[in-house]
């Protein structure tokens, strides 16, 4: 499945070194992350060492080498959110879904991350769950939001 995706993506490129970042972007767009096998295939396709592909993939914050959770929770830590209590919200969510910032749960249910600003400071403090923004958060609201979802205790993966 994944393999076909990668092969199809590679087929639309010429195999030149400078295509590395666009290819990585497209693969990640389709697979959600960069599996090792995909990076090996890309390296072979471009004729560059695997270590080089990994070097580039690990340099840019946009690339991930581990899969994301189904639900992506982004807690805003911009200035406005911060002074209105973002750290408290983050702690609450960390407790609720048993993840630390930057981690993905072992069952690939959740990914918890923080962002610098979502761009809706008027709603501070806010969080984003997948594409939905939830504003005027309080620790209680956060708790409510993730109620009953904290059972995934099995081996969290760091990012």
């Amino acid at each position: 499945m994944e393999e076909e995706f990668v092969d199809r993506i590679l087929a639309s490129y010429k195999g030149e070194r400078n295509e590395l970042v666009p290819i990585l972007q497209e693969v990640q767009e389709n697979l959600g992350y960069l599996p090792e096998k995909a990076m090996i295939d890309i390296a072979r396709f471009l004729g560059v060492p695997g270590s080089h592909v990994y070097s580039v993939a690990s340099f840019y914050a946009q690339f991930r080498t581990l899969p994301l959770g189904k639900t992506r929770v982004a807690v805003c830590r911009g200035t406005a959110c911060h002074i209105r209590g973002a750290p408290l919200i983050l702690h609450e969510i960390e407790d609720a879904i048993h993840l630390k910032e930057g981690e993905t749960s072992g069952d690939l249910e959740y990914t918890l991350e923080t962002v610098a600003c979502i761009g809706c400071c008027a709603l501070a403090p806010c969080i984003k769950v997948n594409m939905d923004v939830a504003g005027d958060m309080t620790p209680e609201k956060a708790k409510e939001l993730f109620k009953g979802n904290g059972n995934s205790n099995g081996g969290n993966r760091g990012e």
Partner: protein, 909 residues
């Protein structure tokens, strides 16, 4: 060379144009602090430590700034210090500064810089923010340790791996203060593509890459690596009669300062506790006793059956016993198997012993298994093979057998056929990659993927065993499209017209059908080869180990003759696999040739040798290695003298060889270690290792190299030549009064000086294609071939713990589609069945193995249990490269099946 004058710190200096400021300063003993500069690498200008001030007031990196006429450079001063000091302080702040407990102390570049700059380490660690957590140390490699906490990110290891080792196993990963040097996926180094050559370790300026347990040698002794045929120059660092360090010989043209893992880390076998240290004789005991004498056998994992044991004996007793027994089996009842790892001197004495003392021409070596087709084809073509006392490259025709390895870099085209050079001859692989970087066009003929395929311009994948058709197809293109050198063929070829006609049989359509290689690809490759001057061909067992091995070699020689490349000494390069395989042949360890390929059957030559050796010689050419085994099985040969080789394991079919050894009345086994063959011996004689004797070796290029003695022989072992000379004296033979290896070399040179020269015109060989002897059918539908692991090379690597750890386990690679047909999943133990035997091993699914081919590694030479090879009619080399097989599932396990789906996608990196 143009000179440039400049002033550094008030000192007037003249240097060559193009040099950098840093180079010039260091050459003139002016120290400029530097971290990321290394003389072997291109300057990177990454560490910003080597800053200097120009008279314009500009501050520049001295490693990247070339000198200019009249330049005035200041290497210290307050201005400069303001810029440079914070740079160094930040590096120190991020560095684990426990210098006292560091293995690199005293040789660390950062330590030198902090001392020179008078950096206050404690002060920095108070003022600057320090990294929070310690990173785990990577100690996965048995030979060196990686400690990221001491890494200064100078990138020397990254550039070394890229520029020198050409592997690029590591690169920078992460960003900002999370940057580190990492292999792909941040794997442990042993699980990465790293080939453990250690080039980065010796160049690391700090303690981030260090050897395990480094010891400082008291002196270095010049020697030659005992592993493959490349023959890298090494210096053995000796302390207290032990080799504690190995360093590459930077002056050697063979390896120009490079080494692979075997040369750098694989010499420890010399001090293995399993070394044979005393002569032993076989005894049949009534009761079990003498366990001590059995220890070497037990350590080698060998059981001697029933009541048969070995006990330690004195040299006096052992040699007495040998002499007494050998007197019973003179002439054709005696055969000698010489070693391809002994020195020329050892091998010369061995064949002289067999011929003069025993009157037998039954002399051969394991070179028969892969090298003999080269000798046969070269001789039939009219090209010299053999010992060249002087090393100069005449450039005249016909080209000398040897060439200067530096020339590879000037090659216009390199054709590699049937060899995985990066594994079998790693340092030669580097040279080929280097010359590709210099613009040589690389063609690779290989049915399965190997390292060089990945950088080749054209990679041709014929079905295994159809190489001859492919190469003759290329010859046909060259003839048909008039790409040959007509002036050369007109002058130096005897039979061009006859050849032209026969080459017509190999039309591209027919060749495409036989080999499966697209006709355009064949034509383009032929054109590239014909256009590249000089063009070099390298080939290995993938060409020679066939029932038509000699013809395969002829096909390659035809290519070189047609294009007149044969006049260059680097044109034809058969690869010899052991350190002195070529030397053993040159010295006459062959049943049909004396020294330097003088035919035994030629009466004049024989009479000449008789007068030189002052004796009567057996006029009949002897038997080859496999024929010796047959004769032993038929009890025609009764006594065997086996030196430094392991036919019980390396000659196929294993069962027959073992039966033959069992039948022999008397076997003398002489080596550094016990092996499978030794258990059939009646007397075991301990031989000195390469480091414990003087002598010369001939490498795969035909270059003769001298080794010096670094150590005293282990225990009571002795150099091979000394053992055989002593034995000859005991058997009342004259002509063995050698006091040293030098005496033998003088005799060798004297004999060669008396031999007639043989130079002729070249002969092209019209060839016919016949399929390999062992072909597929419905019962045996796939072809099995074998490949070599980088870390496995005979008993020597076996005795080095780290090499055992690094090598891959037994496996058979199979394409996922074929695996589906056989219902086999990844990691499963499978049975491989040929027409002649069956073995079990682990299957690994990989997309890099082509469909229809399965590839096994040569671990323990298990493949020999599957073969019953047909011999090449001309050279007697058995067809051991391929074998038709089928695979069978042994047991079904659901868990494994699931895992296989994942790892089948993963493949091997």
């Amino acid at each position: 060379m143009e000179r440039v004058a400049l002033i550094i710190d008030g000192q007037e200096i003249r240097t060559r144009r193009g040099a950098t400021i840093l180079e010039t300063a260091l050459e003139n003993k002016i120290y400029i602090p530097h971290l990321c500069y290394h003389p072997d690498l291109k300057p990177a200008g990454a560490c910003r430590v080597c800053l200097v001030e120009l008279d314009s007031g500009k501050i520049v990196t001295s490693c990247r700034t070339p000198v200019r006429e009249g330049m005035v450079v200041k290497t210290k001063g307050p201005e400069l210090d303001n810029v440079r000091r914070p740079v160094i302080e930040m590096i120190v702040a991020n560095h684990h500064m426990d210098c006292r407990n560091c293995l690199k102390k005293g040789q660390c570049a950062l330590q030198k810089i902090t001392a020179y700059m008078k950096i206050d380490k404690k002060g920095i660690q108070q003022d600057l923010r320090l990294p929070v957590t310690g990173l785990p140390v990577d100690d996965s490699n048995p030979f060196f340790i990686r400690d990221h906490n001491k890494c200064v990110l100078c990138g020397i290891c990254v550039r070394t791996c890229h520029e020198i080792a050409k592997v690029s196993a590591v690169d920078f990963a992460g960003r900002g203060d999370n940057s580190k040097i990492a292999a792909f996926g941040d794997r442990a180094i042993a699980a990465s593509q790293c080939v453990s050559c250690g080039e980065c370790v010796i160049r690391c300026p700090v303690g981030a890459l260090v050897l395990r347990n480094p010891e400082k040698p008291l002196q270095y002794i010049k020697s030659v690596c005992p592993y493959c045929g490349v023959g890298c120059g090494i210096h053995l660092g000796v302390r207290d009669d032990r080799i504690v360090h190995v360093r590459a010989d930077a002056a050697s043209t063979v390896n120009s300062g490079n080494l692979c893992v075997k040369g750098r880390f694989g010499i420890g076998f010399v001090h293995s506790p399993d070394r044979l240290k005393e002569p032993m004789v076989r005894v049949t005991l009534k009761q079990r006793s003498a366990p001590d004498a059995m220890r070497p056998l037990k350590n080698a994992g060998i059981r001697v059956s029933g009541s048969e044991h070995f006990r330690v004996a004195s040299w006096e007793e052992a040699l007495g016993l040998v002499a007494e027994n050998l007197k019973k089996y003179k002439r054709d009842e005696f055969a000698l198997i010489a070693s391809t790892r002994c020195t020329n001197e050892d091998d010369y004495v061995a064949q002289k012993f067999a011929r003069v003392v025993m009157g037998s021409n039954h002399i051969d070596t394991s070179a028969r298994l892969y090298y003999s087709p080269n000798i046969a084809a070269f001789r039939r073509t009219g090209k010299c093979v053999g010992f060249i006392p002087s090393q100069e490259d005449s450039g005249g025709f016909p080209g000398a057998a040897g060439h200067n390895p530096e020339q590879i870099e000037q090659a216009g085209c390199i054709l590699v056929a049937g060899a995985d050079i990066s594994r079998s001859h790693p340092v030669l692989g580097l040279k080929i990659k280097n010359s590709v970087d210099h613009g040589a066009r690389l063609l690779v003929i290989s049915p399965n993927e190997n390292d060089l395929c990945r950088i080749a311009e054209k990679w041709l994948t014929p079905y295994a065993g159809t190489e001859l058709a492919l190469i003759m197809g290329m010859c046909n293109v060259i003839v048909e499209k008039e790409l040959f050198d007509s002036a050369f063929t007109g002058m130096y070829c005897r039979n061009f017209e006859e050849f032209r006609e026969s080459a017509g049989d190999f039309s591209l359509g027919r060749v495409e059908r036989i080999t499966g290689v697209a006709r355009d690809l064949i034509e383009e490759s032929a054109r590239i080869y014909a256009a590249g001057k000089p063009a070099a061909i390298f080939w290995g067992s993938g060409i020679t180990q066939y029932a038509r091995g000699t013809d395969n070699v002829h096909a390659l020689i035809n290519l070189a003759i047609l294009t007149a490349n044969i006049k260059y000494s680097l044109a034809l390069n058969p690869l010899s696999e052991q350190s002195n395989a070529l030397g053993a042949c040159d010295m006459g360890c062959l049943p049909d040739y004396y020294l330097c390929y003088q035919p035994v059957g030629d009466r004049d030559i024989r009479e000449k040798m008789e007068s030189l050796w002052d004796c009567k010689l057996n006029p009949d050419p002897g038997l080859t290695l496999t024929e010796i085994i047959d004769a032993a099985l038929a009890e025609r040969i009764k006594a065997l003298y086996i030196i430094g080789s392991d036919p019980a394991l390396t000659v196929a079919p294993s069962k027959k060889v073992q039966a033959a050894l069992k039948k022999a009345k008397f076997i003398i086994f002489q080596d550094m270690f016990i092996n499978e063959t030794a258990k059939y011996a009646h007397v075991v004689l301990p031989a000195a290792s390469f480091a414990e004797k003087e002598g010369t070796l001939i490498n795969t290029d035909g270059k003769t190299q001298a080794m010096e003695r670094a150590l005293e022989p282990a225990g009571n072992s002795r150099p091979d030549w000394a053992i055989m000379s002593e034995l000859a004296k005991r058997m009342q033979s004259k002509g063995f009064e050698f006091g040293s290896a030098d005496d033998i070399l003088s005799e060798i040179l004297a004999v060669i000086g008396n031999l007639p020269e043989r130079i002729g015109r070249f002969k092209l060989f019209p060839l016919q294609y016949t399929p390999p002897a062992d072909t597929t059918d419905t019962d045996y539908p796939v072809i099995l071939t074998s490949e070599r692991d980088l870390y496995t090379d005979s008993v020597m690597s076996e005795k080095v713990e780290g090499m055992r750890k690094l090598r891959t386990e037994e496996y058979v690679f199979i394409n996922p589609r074929d695996a589906d047909d056989f219902d086999i999943s990844d990691g499963e133990t499978v049975r491989i069945i040929s027409r002649h035997g069956a073995i079990e091993t682990e299957a690994r699914l990989t997309g890099t193995t082509p469909s229809g081919l399965v590839v096994m590694n040569r671990e323990k030479e298990k493949i020999n249990q599957l073969l019953n090879p047909v011999l090449d009619a001309i050279s007697g080399t058995p067809e051991t490269k391929i074998c038709a097989v089928r695979l069978e599932k042994i047991r079904r396990s659901k868990k494994r099946e699931k895992r296989s789906k994942v790892s089948a996608a993963g493949g091997h990196v």
